[in-house]
């Protein structure tokens, strides 16, 4: 029902209200509030050095979130980001070290692995007709198992050449540029292409889209595959930052990816939210950890804080919204 409007809105209030109407408005307001609060709490927060670290930490998570957003906007869910990024990173590292492939080929191998995992997820959902939660849960488990089998549980070292990702261009690391580039790409794909529109439509009402004679399954396959590709790039970024491929890299990141979407204002019910949401969401999530470290909060307790923040975001989001499919 119509929300009761305050009779006398201050100018600030009016700006706030207009901003909140925009689908990315809520997350942006929360982000600004968090930045102001953080800089007040810790003077070191806004220092260039700290911001740089923050952005470097955000980049892989942002890619996971952006991939996840395509799936969530379709009304599905993807639990495989963490395992997919690890598998892509590991196989790329194996190609580079054990098989001595050139760096660019190894990177390509990694991306192809991500696309392949995504394609398998998509086929499980569309052809085997398994709910996405279960299909991608299987990928989460099996993917990790493949990583551990391939590495025998040992990290793969000698990846210093992956530093192409951490190298600087125009004052910022390549990774940060990539993160910005994929944000723009995601926006373009979802808001400016036919496939993007169908993605939103499927999330809004899949039955109606089917009855319209649209090839729903192909849109799903495309999105799942593409999301896998995004996760792979996140995996390569991790190789670059650590110069090591850890078999447990990305463990539990599927939840951070979903949290980035939720914090970024994307509804788990599908069809609603901005493609740029995960960019804002993943930054907020990383910022929280960062500030809690700066403040010297017990690292174990940080999980509790994240959980509470997620609940707050979800409550703010789900006002008057349908259930999760």
């Amino acid at each position: 029902m119509a929300r009761s409007e305050l009779p006398y809105l201050s100018r600030f209030g009016r700006i706030l209200r207009d901003l909140l109407r925009y689908e990315l408005g809520g997350p942006l307001v929360a982000l600004i509030a968090l930045i102001i609060a953080s800089s007040a709490l810790s003077p070191r927060f806004l220092e260039a050095y700290n911001q740089r670290i923050l952005l470097l930490q955000t980049a892989p998570l942002a890619l996971l979130g952006l991939g996840e957003s395509m799936i969530i906007l379709m009304g599905s869910i993807d639990l495989s980001p963490g395992s997919t990024m690890a598998l892509a990173g590991t196989i790329s590292a194996i190609a580079f070290t054990r098989l001595s492939y050139p760096l660019h080929v190894s990177i390509l191998v990694g991306v192809l692995v991500g696309l392949a995992v995504g394609l398998v997820n998509g086929l499980l959902v569309t052809k085997a007709k398994i709910p996405s939660f279960v299909a991608t849960l299987a990928s989460l488990v099996a993917g990790r198992g493949m990583v551990l089998t391939l590495t025998e549980g040992q990290p793969i070292v000698g990846l210093s050449q992956y530093s192409v990702f951490t190298g600087e261009v125009a004052g910022l690391p390549v990774m940060v540029w990539l993160f910005a580039l994929f944000g723009v790409l995601n926006y373009f794909l979802l808001k400016r292409t036919s496939v993007g529109m169908l993605t939103y439509a499927i999330g809004g009402n899949e039955e109606a889209v089917r009855y319209s004679g649209v090839r729903v399954d192909i849109v799903k396959l495309l999105n799942f595959s593409l999301a896998g590709g995004y996760y792979a790039i996140a995996g390569l970024m991790m190789n670059a930052r650590l110069e090591v491929a850890y078999p447990w890299s990305g463990w539990g990141y599927e939840l951070d990816a979903i949290a980035s979407c939720v914090l970024g204002g994307i509804m788990l019910s599908g069809g609603i939210g901005s493609p740029l949401g995960p960019v804002v969401g993943s930054y907020m999530l990383t910022l929280l950890t960062n500030v809690l470290i700066l403040l010297g909060v017990n690292p174990y307790f940080q999980w509790v804080v994240k959980g509470v923040v997620l609940v707050i975001a979800a409550v703010a989001l789900t006002r008057g919204v349908r259930y999760v499919k």
Partner: protein, 511 residues
């Protein structure tokens, strides 16, 4: 003499984009059956759902046994002794009858402490099943019951909840004539036990079979109330319709080469299986010509929706053939149907026809978005908007704004958007399933005119409807579907509505 157990004054209910009730005054006396009638979309269901706490009223007052109350939830309503027997059975199919009856009691205070499956609950269930005349073991699972039995179980549940005021929302719509009569007997029996009932229906003859008083709603307004003994069916119908019925239907100019020429679509011996329900259509043979409206009349459960969905591959065709322009075709999905030019316009347009949170423009171009995009990929907003504008003007969608979200449109305008989508997709055969269902009177007339105009401009139209009058008024020929079988196909110029009603089973048609 009359003691009112329930009174409403100026009840208003607004939904986004529609006002469903515009200030309804209503009263229900002790141990009476008060029928509430009206066309689809008149606000009957909304009204009883407010009484039962499913919806909250936007404005207005409700008095129960003389004191003003506010009903904010179903539990509030139950505490006041009001319960609703829903249109679609709200029973849990995988639980037993006794457990379902227990669910109703559990909601009340202290209910959760009662032991499920105890002798006491079984006895309670048995007692109320007896009242409604059901001789079934209460441990039977609900899924094995027929629709009529389920409806009676719902009534039994209402009684077990100790309800004084029972609202029945179109309880007879899924029932056969025999089942309906049985329900009426139960209702009369309950009346002698001091229960008061609000009986929602759109079948006028039922009012005169069972009710004491009748109130007519039209477009959310109470237009008529009377003792049943002081009125007659034609007066009630007149108030329901609001206008002379003939104004409801456009003049019919047949252009189709019915009988002569070549059929556009021909079904030969079509047999369709519905999941879990067995055979939905048996050996259906039909043809529809260019420029023709073929009406297919059938009651709920006759297989008409299954016919529509089978034509776009959403139900599996188990036997028989489909020919389009003389060529045998195989339709496995709406994608195939769209390629062949067949479009199904669903009855449940909110669930199957529209993406609610998207704009009019996006809904209209949905099947064509790739064609309208540069290289099939990059969207061109101007093209989408101008395409949508063309249809908005042509079909007079209100408000005429391509960016308006369809969830806020009225039922009639939503239907126009779905039709626009079908037309934009270049379909030649339109399958319309209850196109005027849930649409207000004005839009009904417009949509009916549109259906005729489309036929006259060469489309082949299959009109699936349960409304005999609509079928007779709009169709060139009418096929009667009973239990999945075609029992006859007639030219509408040579058949009367009474004859068709008789074929359908002789009951259930008031307006």
């Amino acid at each position: 003499m009359a003691s009112e157990v329930l009174v409403t004054r100026g009840l208003v209910k607004e939904f986004p984009g529609v006002v469903a009730l515009k200030g309804v005054d209503f009263d229900l006396r002790h141990s009476e059956i008060h029928a509430l009638v009206g066309q689809n979309g008149a606000g009957k269901s909304t009204f009883v759902k407010i009484l039962a706490g499913v919806y909250s009223p936007t404005r207005g007052k409700i008095y129960v046994r003389g004191s003003k109350v506010s009903i904010r939830s179903v539990l509030d309503a139950k505490r006041l002794g009001i319960t609703l027997v829903h249109q679609e059975a709200t029973l849990v199919p995988n639980l037993s009858i006794a457990e379902n009856i227990a669910l109703g009691i559990l909601g009340k205070e202290g209910g959760l402490l009662k032991r499920l499956g105890s002798r006491e609950l079984l006895d309670t269930a048995r007692k109320y099943l007896e009242v409604v005349g059901l001789d079934i073991d209460p441990r039977t699972k609900v899924e094995s019951l027929g629709i009529g039995e389920r409806q009676l179980v719902q009534v039994a549940r209402a009684l077990a909840e100790d309800a004084e005021i029972i609202c029945l929302d179109e309880p007879t719509s899924p029932l056969t004539a025999v089942e309906s009569r049985r329900l009426f007997e139960v209702m009369k029996e309950l009346k002698t036990r001091g229960k008061s009932m609000v009986f929602v229906t759109h079948r006028v003859e039922e009012v005169f079979t069972v009710a004491d008083r009748v109130t007519v709603l039209r477009d959310g307004v109470r237009v008529f109330s009377s003792e049943v003994s002081k009125t007659d069916p034609s007066e009630v119908v007149r108030y329901m319709l609001g206008r002379e019925p003939e104004h409801f239907y456009p003049a019919k100019v047949s252009v189709g080469a019915v009988g002569g020429g070549k059929p556009r679509l021909r079904l030969v011996g079509l047999t369709v299986l519905a999941e879990g329900k067995g055979m939905a259509l048996k050996n259906v043979t039909l043809e529809v010509y260019p420029g023709e409206v073929l009406g297919v009349v059938g009651l709920l459960g006759s297989g008409k929706t299954e016919l529509g969905k089978a034509l776009v591959g959403m139900y599996r065709v188990a036997g028989g053939e489909i020919y389009l322009d003389g060529v045998k075709v195989s339709i496995k999905s709406p994608v195939d149907a769209l390629r062949l030019g067949i479009f199904y316009i669903p009855e449940d347009r909110r669930r199957e026809g529209l993406v609610g949170n998207m704009s009019i423009a996006e809904n209209v171009i949905l099947p064509k978005v790739r064609e309208l995009s540069a290289l099939g990929l990059v969207r061109v907003p101007e093209r989408e908007i101008s395409t949508a504008r063309k249809w908005i003007e042509h079909l007079r969608v209100v408000p005429p704004k391509p960016s308006f979200k369809v969830m806020y449109l009225s039922g009639g305008n939503q239907q126009k958007v779905v039709i626009a989508k079908a037309l934009e997709s270049n379909a030649k055969v339109l399958v319309l399933d209850e196109p005027t269902f849930g649409v207000d009177v004005g839009a009904k007339i417009e949509i009916r005119k549109l259906v005729r105009n489309l036929a006259e401009s060469g489309y082949s139209i299959i009109l699936l409807t349960s409304d005999v009058d609509e079928a007779v008024a709009l169709s060139d020929r009418v096929a009667v579907l009973v239990n999945g079988e075609i029992v006859g196909v007639y030219r509408t110029s040579e058949v009367s509505r009474e004859f068709l009603v008789e074929l359908l089973g002789g009951s259930g048609y008031g307006s």
